[in-house]
Protein backbone atom coordinates (compact mmCIF):
# COMPACT_ATOMS: atom_id res chain seq x y z
CA UNK A 1 0.00 0.00 0.00
CA UNK A 2 1.37 3.40 -0.90
CA UNK A 3 0.98 5.76 1.97
CA UNK A 4 2.82 8.79 3.26
CA UNK A 5 5.47 10.76 1.42
CA UNK A 6 9.24 10.62 1.20
CA UNK A 7 11.61 12.82 -0.77
CA UNK A 8 15.23 12.81 -1.86
CA UNK A 9 17.38 15.84 -2.72
CA UNK A 10 20.09 15.99 -5.37
CA UNK A 11 22.27 19.00 -6.12
CA UNK A 12 24.25 20.11 -9.16
CA UNK A 13 25.83 23.45 -10.07
CA UNK A 14 22.72 24.72 -11.73
CA UNK A 15 19.79 23.25 -9.90
CA UNK A 16 18.46 21.30 -6.98
CA UNK A 17 16.35 18.31 -7.83
CA UNK A 18 13.77 17.06 -5.37
CA UNK A 19 12.20 13.64 -6.07
CA UNK A 20 8.87 12.85 -4.48
CA UNK A 21 7.71 9.35 -3.59
CA UNK A 22 4.18 8.69 -2.35
CA UNK A 23 1.28 11.01 -1.71
CA UNK A 24 0.96 14.71 -1.01
CA UNK A 25 -2.27 15.21 0.84
CA UNK A 26 -3.38 17.10 3.91
CA UNK A 27 -1.61 14.58 6.16
CA UNK A 28 1.78 14.79 4.50
CA UNK A 29 1.50 18.43 3.43
CA UNK A 30 3.09 20.09 6.46
CA UNK A 31 6.28 18.02 6.15
CA UNK A 32 6.31 18.56 2.42
CA UNK A 33 5.87 22.32 2.77
CA UNK A 34 8.65 22.59 5.37
CA UNK A 35 11.02 20.55 3.23
CA UNK A 36 10.25 22.34 -0.03
CA UNK A 37 10.36 25.87 1.38
CA UNK A 38 13.62 25.13 3.15
CA UNK A 39 15.20 23.88 -0.06
CA UNK A 40 14.01 26.98 -1.88
CA UNK A 41 15.15 29.44 0.78
CA UNK A 42 18.51 27.80 1.49
CA UNK A 43 19.61 26.91 -2.00
CA UNK A 44 18.21 29.87 -3.94
CA UNK A 45 18.62 27.82 -7.12
CA UNK A 46 16.45 26.56 -9.94
CA UNK A 47 14.31 23.75 -8.63
CA UNK A 48 13.43 20.54 -10.45
CA UNK A 49 10.68 18.52 -8.87
CA UNK A 50 10.64 14.94 -10.12
CA UNK A 51 7.12 13.54 -9.79
CA UNK A 52 7.77 10.12 -11.32
CA UNK A 53 6.79 8.36 -8.13
CA UNK A 54 4.27 10.88 -6.92
CA UNK A 55 1.02 8.93 -6.91
CA UNK A 56 -1.38 11.44 -5.52
CA UNK A 57 -1.74 15.15 -5.01
CA UNK A 58 -4.66 17.46 -4.34
CA UNK A 59 -5.16 21.19 -3.86
CA UNK A 60 -3.25 21.14 -0.59
CA UNK A 61 -0.16 20.05 -2.49
CA UNK A 62 -0.79 22.30 -5.48
CA UNK A 63 -1.02 25.25 -3.09
CA UNK A 64 2.42 24.37 -1.74
CA UNK A 65 3.85 24.25 -5.25
CA UNK A 66 2.39 27.71 -5.87
CA UNK A 67 3.85 28.99 -2.60
CA UNK A 68 7.27 27.62 -3.55
CA UNK A 69 6.99 29.24 -6.96
CA UNK A 70 6.36 32.64 -5.38
CA UNK A 71 9.49 32.14 -3.29
CA UNK A 72 11.80 31.08 -6.13
CA UNK A 73 10.62 34.04 -8.17
CA UNK A 74 11.98 36.33 -5.46
CA UNK A 75 15.38 34.90 -6.30
CA UNK A 76 14.73 35.08 -10.05
CA UNK A 77 14.76 31.30 -10.34
CA UNK A 78 12.24 28.87 -11.75
CA UNK A 79 10.54 25.59 -10.91
CA UNK A 80 10.45 22.74 -13.43
CA UNK A 81 8.12 19.81 -12.85
CA UNK A 82 9.08 16.54 -14.54
CA UNK A 83 7.59 13.09 -15.06
CA UNK A 84 4.06 13.92 -13.94
CA UNK A 85 1.61 11.06 -14.08
CA UNK A 86 -1.45 11.68 -16.22
CA UNK A 87 -3.88 12.03 -13.33
CA UNK A 88 -1.62 14.62 -11.73
CA UNK A 89 -0.93 16.55 -14.92
CA UNK A 90 -4.69 16.74 -15.35
CA UNK A 91 -5.00 18.66 -12.08
CA UNK A 92 -2.48 21.23 -13.31
CA UNK A 93 -4.45 21.65 -16.51
CA UNK A 94 -7.80 21.93 -14.70
CA UNK A 95 -6.49 24.63 -12.38
CA UNK A 96 -4.55 26.49 -15.07
CA UNK A 97 -1.36 25.90 -13.12
CA UNK A 98 0.15 24.21 -16.19
CA UNK A 99 0.67 27.74 -17.50
CA UNK A 100 2.35 28.93 -14.32
CA UNK A 101 4.89 26.11 -13.96
CA UNK A 102 7.32 24.71 -16.48
CA UNK A 103 6.10 21.16 -16.96
CA UNK A 104 8.33 18.74 -18.83
Amino acid sequence: MSDGLSFTKEKSDEYVKVSLVGEVDIYTSQDFKNMLYEVVDCEKMNLIIDCKQLNYIDSTGLGIFVGALKKVKQYDKKIVLTNLKDNIKKLFVITGLDKVFVIE
Binding site: I26, S29, Y56, D58, D86, I94
Partner: protein
Protein backbone atom coordinates in the same frame (compact mmCIF):
# COMPACT_ATOMS: atom_id res chain seq x y z
CA UNK B 1 -24.61 -4.68 -8.80
CA UNK B 2 -28.37 -4.70 -9.49
CA UNK B 3 -30.78 -1.82 -9.74
CA UNK B 4 -31.14 -1.26 -6.05
CA UNK B 5 -29.21 1.37 -4.26
CA UNK B 6 -26.54 0.21 -1.84
CA UNK B 7 -25.43 2.52 0.90
CA UNK B 8 -21.97 2.46 2.44
CA UNK B 9 -21.17 4.80 5.30
CA UNK B 10 -17.80 5.87 6.58
CA UNK B 11 -17.39 7.91 9.76
CA UNK B 12 -14.00 9.57 10.20
CA UNK B 13 -12.47 11.77 12.90
CA UNK B 14 -11.54 15.34 11.96
CA UNK B 15 -7.91 14.33 11.54
CA UNK B 16 -5.61 14.54 8.55
CA UNK B 17 -4.30 11.00 8.93
CA UNK B 18 -7.67 9.45 8.12
CA UNK B 19 -8.37 11.25 4.85
CA UNK B 20 -6.49 8.50 3.03
CA UNK B 21 -9.01 5.99 4.40
CA UNK B 22 -11.74 7.83 2.49
CA UNK B 23 -9.60 7.49 -0.62
CA UNK B 24 -9.24 3.76 -0.07
CA UNK B 25 -12.97 3.24 0.31
CA UNK B 26 -13.53 5.35 -2.78
CA UNK B 27 -11.08 3.23 -4.76
CA UNK B 28 -12.73 0.03 -3.66
CA UNK B 29 -16.25 1.15 -4.49
CA UNK B 30 -15.35 2.77 -7.81
CA UNK B 31 -13.46 -0.36 -8.75
CA UNK B 32 -16.47 -2.56 -8.03
CA UNK B 33 -18.71 -0.21 -9.99
CA UNK B 34 -16.53 -0.50 -13.05
CA UNK B 35 -15.12 3.01 -13.29
CA UNK B 36 -11.93 3.16 -15.36
CA UNK B 37 -8.63 3.77 -13.61
CA UNK B 38 -8.39 7.43 -14.61
CA UNK B 39 -11.86 8.22 -13.36
CA UNK B 40 -11.18 6.45 -10.08
CA UNK B 41 -8.21 8.75 -9.53
CA UNK B 42 -10.41 11.76 -10.28
CA UNK B 43 -13.12 10.73 -7.83
CA UNK B 44 -10.49 10.06 -5.16
CA UNK B 45 -9.15 13.59 -5.54
CA UNK B 46 -12.59 15.18 -5.37
CA UNK B 47 -13.59 13.25 -2.26
CA UNK B 48 -10.26 13.95 -0.66
CA UNK B 49 -10.62 17.69 -1.29
CA UNK B 50 -13.80 17.76 0.74
CA UNK B 51 -12.34 15.68 3.56
CA UNK B 52 -9.25 17.88 3.72
CA UNK B 53 -11.37 20.98 3.93
CA UNK B 54 -13.54 19.49 6.68
CA UNK B 55 -10.47 18.43 8.63
CA UNK B 56 -8.92 21.88 8.27
CA UNK B 57 -12.09 23.53 9.56
CA UNK B 58 -12.83 20.96 12.26
CA UNK B 59 -15.70 21.23 14.70
CA UNK B 60 -16.24 22.18 18.31
CA UNK B 61 -19.43 20.22 18.45
CA UNK B 62 -18.58 16.89 16.86
CA UNK B 63 -15.54 14.60 16.80
CA UNK B 64 -16.30 13.21 13.38
CA UNK B 65 -17.97 13.57 10.01
CA UNK B 66 -19.79 11.02 7.92
CA UNK B 67 -19.41 10.16 4.25
CA UNK B 68 -22.34 8.35 2.67
CA UNK B 69 -21.62 6.53 -0.58
CA UNK B 70 -24.77 5.70 -2.52
CA UNK B 71 -24.06 3.09 -5.14
CA UNK B 72 -26.44 2.37 -7.97
CA UNK B 73 -25.95 0.61 -11.29
CA UNK B 74 -24.02 3.44 -12.88
CA UNK B 75 -23.86 6.36 -10.46
CA UNK B 76 -21.80 6.93 -7.35
CA UNK B 77 -23.27 9.66 -5.19
CA UNK B 78 -21.27 10.89 -2.22
CA UNK B 79 -22.84 12.92 0.57
CA UNK B 80 -21.10 14.51 3.54
CA UNK B 81 -22.83 14.93 6.88
CA UNK B 82 -21.96 16.11 10.35
CA UNK B 83 -23.87 16.66 13.57
CA UNK B 84 -22.35 20.12 13.62
CA UNK B 85 -24.93 22.13 11.71
CA UNK B 86 -22.57 25.10 11.50
CA UNK B 87 -20.65 23.18 8.82
CA UNK B 88 -22.50 24.39 5.79
CA UNK B 89 -20.81 26.44 3.09
CA UNK B 90 -17.39 25.01 3.79
CA UNK B 91 -15.72 26.33 0.66
CA UNK B 92 -15.38 30.00 -0.14
CA UNK B 93 -14.47 31.20 -3.58
CA UNK B 94 -11.45 33.20 -2.52
CA UNK B 95 -9.20 30.91 -0.51
CA UNK B 96 -10.53 27.68 -1.89
CA UNK B 97 -10.36 28.53 -5.55
CA UNK B 98 -8.21 25.55 -6.37
CA UNK B 99 -10.28 23.03 -4.44
CA UNK B 100 -13.67 24.15 -5.79
CA UNK B 101 -12.28 24.28 -9.29
CA UNK B 102 -10.94 20.74 -9.01
CA UNK B 103 -14.12 19.31 -7.50
CA UNK B 104 -16.34 20.89 -10.14
CA UNK B 105 -14.08 19.76 -12.94
CA UNK B 106 -13.74 16.17 -11.78
CA UNK B 107 -17.28 15.33 -10.68
CA UNK B 108 -20.43 15.28 -12.78
CA UNK B 109 -22.72 16.94 -10.30
CA UNK B 110 -21.75 18.96 -7.25
CA UNK B 111 -24.11 20.51 -4.74
CA UNK B 112 -22.35 22.96 -2.43
CA UNK B 113 -24.09 25.07 0.22
CA UNK B 114 -27.24 22.98 0.16
CA UNK B 115 -30.45 23.88 1.88
CA UNK B 116 -30.61 20.28 3.06
CA UNK B 117 -29.28 18.92 6.28
CA UNK B 118 -26.14 17.52 4.71
CA UNK B 119 -22.98 19.51 4.05
CA UNK B 120 -22.59 18.80 0.38
CA UNK B 121 -23.10 16.08 -2.18
CA UNK B 122 -21.53 15.15 -5.46
CA UNK B 123 -21.89 12.37 -7.96
CA UNK B 124 -20.12 10.63 -10.81
CA UNK B 125 -21.59 8.52 -13.60
CA UNK B 126 -19.90 5.36 -14.90
CA UNK B 127 -19.28 5.94 -18.61
CA UNK B 128 -19.58 3.31 -21.27
CA UNK B 129 -21.25 0.83 -18.97
CA UNK B 130 -23.43 -1.31 -21.15
Amino acid sequence: MGDTLDTIELVLPFKAEYVSVARLVTSGLCNRMGFDVETIEDVKVAISEVCSKLVSIGSNVSQCYKIVYSVSEDVLKVTYLCEDSSLKCIFNNGDDGLAIHIINALMDEVELCTSNDYILSMSKVVEGND
